[in-house]
Symmetry: C2
Subunit: 202 residues, 2 copies
């Protein structure tokens, strides 16, 4: 191994720069010139290291899922109940999507809304559907375990909370501060099916 001239830039750091570009401007509005400028390399280096724009974006998305997007899967896996898991997902989304250290909102939700390429759009849509399915399965598991009222519709609840997360992402993009989005998360949890005694009674 190690034959040929070694590359003079850090591949992971270049990938991070590309992530920020796609995150901020979306797939279509991010140009190769913008990418190479942000990554500090020239087009041939980009194509040699990452294939083309489409494959670079795919790698960015994959990396994003394993870093910035990991909080949701972690909450769903770690929390003891579906309710606690989803509440944590919503609150962490409010924090994550407004983090000033990176562009606001969720890359998966916003980067390929109107990207011109039906393939890329479909791929991101599939990612969103997969995330929703994880939420649904977590709810269905609690329903089977008897932690939720019989008749609860896991798919309906999952759609509602997926919509809430997407709404939080859009609001974050529009500049709504973290505290407000945490309130949104709290309000969304009032839609959770009542298990024991009715609300307002202690």
């Amino acid at each position: 191994m190690g034959k040929g001239r070694p590359r003079t830039f850090d591949r992971d750091e270049a990938l991070d720069r590309a992530t920020m570009e796609f995150w901020r401007h979306g797939y279509e509005a991010t140009s190769i010139a913008g990418l190479t400028g942000a990554m500090g390399i020239n087009p041939p280096s980009l194509y040699a290291a990452f294939g083309d724009k489409r494959r670079l974006f795919a790698e960015v998305v994959e990396r994003y899922q394993r870093s910035y997007g990991e909080f949701a899967a972690r909450a769903l896996a770690e929390e003891p109940t579906a309710r606690a898991a989803i509440e944590r997902v919503l609150r962490e989304a409010a924090v994550e999507y407004t983090d000033p250290a990176h562009p606001w909102g969720c890359l998966i939700i916003t980067a390929a809304v109107n990207c011109g390429s039906p393939d890329v759009e479909a791929e991101m849509r599939a990612q969103r559907e997969a995330s929703k399915a994880v939420i649904r399965d977590r709810i269905a598991a609690d329903l089977d375990a008897g932690h939720l009222p019989t008749g609860t519709d896991p798919d309906a609840l999952a759609t509602f909370y997926a919509a809430t997360i997407q709404g939080i992402s859009t609001q974050a993009r529009d500049g709504v501060p973290r505290e407000r989005l945490e309130t949104v998360a709290d309000l969304a949890m009032r839609a959770w099916p009542a298990t024991g005694q009715p609300r307002g009674v202690r």
Copy 2:
């Protein structure tokens, strides 16, 4: 008036065709070639009648607000209470955003998410903020009238329901059927502040 050669196409119909293009593909991904193709005219006719792409889009947005987007303002003005108004807005959004007669979702929410032009993005953001302000004012009016518990935060509630509407729009774009989104609307209404006796008690 009426001097010079009259135009040979219907301006309103061409505007409708342009609306569908922007609605489906977003601002950036809609090209002049795509527009002229859908409108059945040539570029000089487009520029003579509508100025440029930016002004054509502005006119499309204005027209959209007065037609497809009118249902929200109408519900907020007509319904007797803020609660009834917002419930109607959500349910009508579920219907409107999945109408097979036009592209899914809301043009104001999705058409300029990542459009490359900061000006256009800011303009659409302002539109969304204005819609949210109308919701907030309607809630504040009910709060002043004593129809809501003291301590209710109109801005927090308005942000939550704006986020819900945006989530419904995104889900509609992803192909979620109308019935599911109506269920999302119902679930979102469970976040409404309890006024009288607690829930679950009849």
